[in-house]
Amino acid sequence: MALLAAIRRRSLSAKLVVLGAVVTAAVVSVAFWALEVEIRANTRDVLTAQLARNQHTLQQLQTRDAQQLLFAASLIVGTPRFEAALSTYRLESYTGGTRRVELVRTVEDELRNSLRSVDADLLVATDDSGRVFASAGRSGSLLRNGASLFALAAVRHAIDPNAPADSGAMAVLRTDSGFVEVAVYPVVQDGFTLGSLVVGRRLNAAFASDASVASDAAVVLTAGDSIFAASDGALVKNSVASTLQAAAVSGPLATTVRIGRDEYVVAPVNLGETQEHAPVRVWMLQSLTQRVGALTAPLRSDFVFYGALAVAIAAIGAAIVARGVLGPFRRFVVHMRSGAEAQHQQGQFDARDEALEVRTLNESFNQLMDSLASRRRELEARSAELVAANVVLTDEISERARVEQALRESQAQLRQSQKLEAIGTLAGGIAHDFNNLITVISGYTQLALMRTDQTSPEAEDLRQVVEASDRAANLTHQLLAFSRKQVLQPTVLDLSDVVSGIAPMLRRIIGEHLVLRISSDTPLARVRADRGQLEQVILNLAVNARDAMQGGGVLTIETANVADRADARSVILTVRDTGIGMTHDVKERVFEPFFTTKEPGKGTGLGLSTVYGIVNQSGGTIAVDSELAIGTTFTITLPAAESVPCPDADGAEPSELPRGTETILIVEDAEDVRILTRRTLEERGYSVLVARNADEALEIATVREIDVLLTDIVMPRTSGPQLVNKYLATHPSTLVIYMSGYADEALSQYELDPATVFLRKPFTPAVLARTVRSALDTARGARTQSNAGSHTGSHTGSHAGATAD
């Protein structure tokens, strides 16, 4: 593979040279191979024919040999002593005579004498039963006297002319020292057979080499499946024997066999059968491989020489052709490449004197370049269009991203409002049932309290129950607000009026370390909402903002017109602080009831829930945006009211409430009550001071003239009556109004002046306003009349003070 890769990287001309060489070499090789195949086939035919002739010759030689042997036998048989001896033996045997040694020796002498004059290796005389009578051989006696040769068909035939003759002229006799080809001649006297004379010639290596010389082939002698002699000792092998045995089956014709790595053409000549009926054959073997090799070896060297010459010529020719053909191409390519490197189109290649192919190529190239140039112009125009389209597309994509972002946000809001809706439904249901239960608890507790001695400890316990019931009622009220189950009294109003109306109170609530900024669009579209509820919303948000800005900051309240898509106008109210901000998790749950981040006891977790409920019930939405350490912004959107505002529709009540300009000091430890009371009175025109406890009140009293002291009765450390006692000691003309959530009877322990004005919590702003006005008017009258006091009873109002969260 590496070689192939190396060739692939070579130049075209190198490849051409290699190709020429390889093709030529392949052609020469194939030609040689074809020639060798042809030679082999021809040689085989020649050898086969030659061996067939040799077969014939050898058979003729055998026949002649047999005739010679038989002639020799006839001569021997005709000697009188030989015949006489056999005849004598026969006659003596009739009368029980044995093979007398004299007779045997006589015959042996005769045979030995004969051996000298005939070309035979073995002479055997048999009696008329085929038994060996005597024998003589060139290398001694080869057969035991008395041994029967009756098994030899030739012997049988000689003894008994009626017995079938051997197919061949001769037979083969196996002796103790080897195989002998024999001819058998009958010994006859007076027409009667006396026995036979066996004349033999040894089948040994000498015979094989003689036959080899005669046939110009290797010769192997086999008996049955074994080799007993060969002209070439190397052929005496079992493998050769078995191969020849197999070849013998196919008949007497010459065949081709494979012996070892060589191919041979072999042909047999039958010599006859032994006394054991083993066929004996002379095999002539011609090595096809050697003969072909002898023919092809010189041919091969010729082919190698002329093949190499042809390869070289082909390679040189290919090189010349490559140079002639590829040279112009190379010049052309070099020209074009230099043009390409110079990055500009040079003058066209001069191909007039080049070959036709190069001219055609040059023409095509020029056409290609023209085509490329026009195509490039098209491309530039197309890409300009694409750039423009891309700009449009980018805009569309960013617009889509914006829309998707907005969609995601609104989906998040939707999920949030759905969650709050579910919670509100749950909380509203609970609150409703709780309200009922609390009414029962409170009612029966008050009944029990009435029947109880007010000074007894049980009465105190019951009062605690009543108080707890009131607080529970308050909580359920807020839950109802959140779940939008409370009754609203909407009026068309200006939101900036609401803000500016509550602003003084907000300033006091948030304290001096915070800056309050209020701004508004003018004119501002009007909205339809419950004024008191809106005030509570702003109050709650402001208190939260203050708590978020312990270290100081700015509280911004803005009202503005917003035109939304539907062309319907909305008004937004923004409450923004620069406080600690909220985490995402807190922001997610900020409107949930009872969710608070304040310390236990500091908040109920209902402030923002209430806000949420009120805004929703008013048909608006509320959103919160917060970032840690930066601040939080609540944005309330309310639909603009389409109808013309009628400020007097529901505003009658506040305007009907009595007003005043006196200075009132409120002493109240419950902050919510304190704020609500202060707001109500400030709205009515009063100048209001507040104190969280008796000490603060006394301090204020030293610097300010006070017309009315409005104080809670039950307070930590110094109670309301104790404060009043101290205060009246220095300011006896000051009007005192007590407020308390406790029942009248519960206050008896404080030994209040029966003329004391008492305001029962919870009270409505209206009740407060009327009670204060009435008390002031009464006191003025009393001072005028030096008498009189009124006891303004009050009842539980349905509106309670707000709890800012």
Partner: protein, 192 residues
């Protein structure tokens, strides 16, 4: 001992010729078969001529001690030799001799003596040396007659040189002719 030959079948010419080579004799030596000297002397002489390259007659029966003459009646040299044990372990060889010459030899032991001619291998003859004179060759009527055989029980042998001897036991009563029939299978192929 008188013999009345049975009516023989008409023999063929070849058969007739071959029958002349048959000898019938009584087995037994002279102690058992006393014979008068006249008979013995008569049978102690035999002649086997060499004529037409043949030993004639082919078979010559004699009594032990007989001398047989081998005259050469042919124009060519002949030889007489034998390898038979009855003529001594080495047989004998009378050498070659021309026409008119004759040689003889005395056979001192009974037995079958085959004689051959050294020059003419086809020539052969048999001198049948018997222990007693009681033997017979066929007469013209192809009968074999043996006279004056003493009373007793004998083995009678039918002899031919191509076959094994055929024997018969026979009781000979004094004054009577005892007839013995032989069936001798003559071998085929003979051509002499």
């Amino acid at each position: 001992m008188g013999s009345t030959p049975p009516p023989p079948p008409p023999p063929s010419e070849q058969m007739a010729a071959e029958l002349h080579n048959v000898v019938i004799y009584v087995d037994g030596d002279s102690t058992k078969l006393p014979a008068d000297h006249e008979l013995i002397d008569a049978r102690r002489r035999g002649v086997m001529s060499q004529r037409g390259e043949r030993f004639t007659p082919h078979v010559v029966p004699v009594v032990v001690g007989a001398t047989v003459e081998f005259p050469n009646d042919d124009d060519v040299y002949h030889n007489v030799f034998s390898l038979s044990g009855a003529a001594g372990p080495q047989g004998f060889d009378l050498g070659r001799y021309p026409k008119g010459a004759s040689r003889s030899i005395t056979f001192t032991r009974s037995g079958t003596v085959q004689v051959f001619c050294h020059i003419h291998s086809d020539m052969s003859g048999v001198v049948l040396v018997l222990p007693n004179p009681f033997f017979a060759s066929p007469d013209d009527a192809h009968h074999f007659a043996i006279d004056a055989v003493p009373e007793g029980t004998y083995t009678v042998v039918g002899w031919h040189d191509r076959i094994k001897p055929v024997t018969r036991r026979v009781h000979v009563t004094a004054g009577q002719t005892t007839t013995v029939n032989f069936n001798i299978p003559l071998p085929q192929g003979g051509d002499r």
